[in-house]
């Protein structure tokens, strides 16, 4: 097997080069939400969202600003407790073990005040793994191996986001949740991140991805959730949504008009 393929296998499966492996995690890729609601104060922010996501591919969450896309992602990941309703992962309610089988990449990269290599080690150690070969394979996979000893906070925005991706992949997640990871990045950085995301998808990781970018949705999405004012408006295959949206709000969004 070529060297790069060995590295990629190491990254995606969690099998270390020295035989060390991440703890086994349950297959939780089939995510369902039922009547999911989030109300803060007296303001309903997410209203009765019921979904049953495909266990494969890339699901994009789209919608105008304030639609509730990032909140829905946080509710699914368990970073926010719902006011009512629930989320099931492979038919199971969310637990710490199930959350360990997921990872999240935030819009603003969260970079620890350590070296690039230590940032990835941190995620590995959080799962009880010390594996320098796996760390290096991850950094190589995102194109940061040459920066391994640098302070992470000196990386460019695009490099920091790739480091976040390496850290997210370090735990060999079954599901990766991404909250506008390419917002405010230059086109080359966007394409590099999209390439990594597509490789993760090809290796069986379920991706749930928030974006505003219609072009990105066309390039990446297998299916699309369209949200507006905290409500689920549409959920279906991306080509169908992008060519024949069913709701007026989705049509307005796709044509760049103000969404009511």
């Amino acid at each position: 097997m070529p060297m790069r393929d060995v590295a990629l296998n190491t990254v995606m499966t969690g099998n270390g080069a020295d035989g060390a492996a991440l703890p086994m995690v349950p297959d939780i890729r089939a995510v369902t939400t039922s009547d999911l609601c989030l109300t803060i104060g007296d303001k309903p922010l997410i209203r009765d969202v019921s979904l049953s996501l495909s266990p494969d591919g890339i699901t994009m969450i789209m919608g105008p600003n304030g639609a509730g896309k990032s909140l829905l992602l946080r509710l699914i990941h368990g970073l926010l407790p719902p006011s009512s309703g629930g989320v099931l992962w492979g038919g199971q309610t969310l637990s710490d073990d199930l959350r360990r089988a997921q990872s999240m990449v935030f819009q603003k990269p969260v970079v620890l005040r350590r070296s690039v290599a230590a940032n990835v080690e941190f995620a590995l150690k959080a799962r009880g793994v010390r594996d320098a070969a796996r760390r290096d394979a991850l950094l190589d996979h995102v194109g940061l191996l040459d920066h391994a000893r640098q302070p992470a906070r000196l990386l460019s925005g695009g490099e920091q986001q790739r480091l976040s991706l390496a850290r997210a992949l370090a735990t060999a997640p079954k599901v990766m949740l991404m909250d506008e990871p390419t917002a405010s990045l230059d086109p080359a950085s966007v394409l590099k991140i999209e390439e990594i995301v597509l490789e993760a998808r090809a290796n069986g990781t379920k991706i749930i991805f928030v974006t505003h970018d219609l072009g990105q949705a066309g390039r990446l999405a297998d299916d699309i959730i369209f949200m507006n004012q905290g409500r689920l408006h549409e959920y279906g295959p991306s080509d169908l949504f992008l060519s024949r949206p069913e709701t007026q709000a989705a049509r307005d969004f796709l044509q760049g008009r103000i969404v009511a």
Partner: protein
């Protein structure tokens, strides 16, 4: 009373000659204050970190208490420690009154709130940045505390230096619980107070110079830490 110029000359010669009494007093001061700041960090940093990352009923009251305790009057701390360690006190059986250990206890009580309150602020600011990532990684509270303390290490060293500065310059508490006994519990600040009251200014001035050098050294280290932190983008 000595002439000031003469006293100053004598003080300089005491410092330059490495006078044995002077060295002993400076060494005890450093030993007491460094031990106190070490203990204050062991107690104060984890407590500050726990309060920084935890939300619980009455947290605001705890924060007010932390901040209020930063201004603890040293003589009151000295008095309370004295009452506990004196023969009639609950800890009198330990026989610690008028020993360096009593002085370490008093200084630790005095500066632990400073370490707690300042580290809580530093760590809370950092936690605001890290909290979602930590929750996403499902870290235990102890893992979070360790990560925050490590990543804030430069800022926390500044906090420790601030505590050390307060401890080494403090006189009231160590005077009460140490008793300023020659060759046993005499530290720089208590010696300066005593020698000044006796009118023997040369030793007082020599000790004052050393104290000033330490204060300048502490500030230089703070500045150096800040520059290192910025250079390594760990600020």
């Amino acid at each position: 009373m000595q002439d000031f110029g003469e006293a100053f000359q004598l003080a300089v010669s005491l410092v330059l000659s490495g006078d044995a009494d002077l060295v002993e007093i400076v060494a005890l001061s450093l030993k007491v204050s460094l031990t106190a700041i070490g203990l204050a960090c062991v107690i104060g940093l984890p407590l500050g970190a726990i309060v920084a990352i935890t939300r619980f009923p009455g947290r605001n009251a705890v924060l007010i208490l932390f901040n209020a305790l930063m201004g603890l009057p040293p003589v009151v701390v000295g008095l309370i420690v004295y009452l506990h360690l004196s023969r009639a006190g609950p800890l009198g059986f330990l026989g610690l009154l008028y020993t360096p250990t009593a002085m370490i206890i008093a200084q630790t009580i005095l500066i632990t709130p400073i370490v707690m309150a300042l580290s809580r602020q530093v760590l809370e600011d950092l936690n605001a940045e890290y909290a979602e990532q930590f929750r996403s990684l499902v870290l235990s509270r102890w893992q979070q505390v360790r990560a925050l303390i490590w990543d804030a290490r430069f800022s926390l060293m500044t906090v420790a230096l601030a505590g050390f500065g307060r401890a080494v310059a403090e006189v009231g508490a160590v005077m009460i619980v140490g008793g300023n006994i020659d060759h046993l519990t005499r530290v720089m600040t208590t010696a300066i107070a005593l020698e000044t009251s006796k009118g023997d200014l040369s030793l007082a001035l020599a000790l004052g110079m050393v104290l000033m050098v330490i204060a300048l050294g502490v500030n230089a280290m703070v500045q150096s830490l800040r520059m290192t932190a910025v250079r390594h983008a760990y600020a």
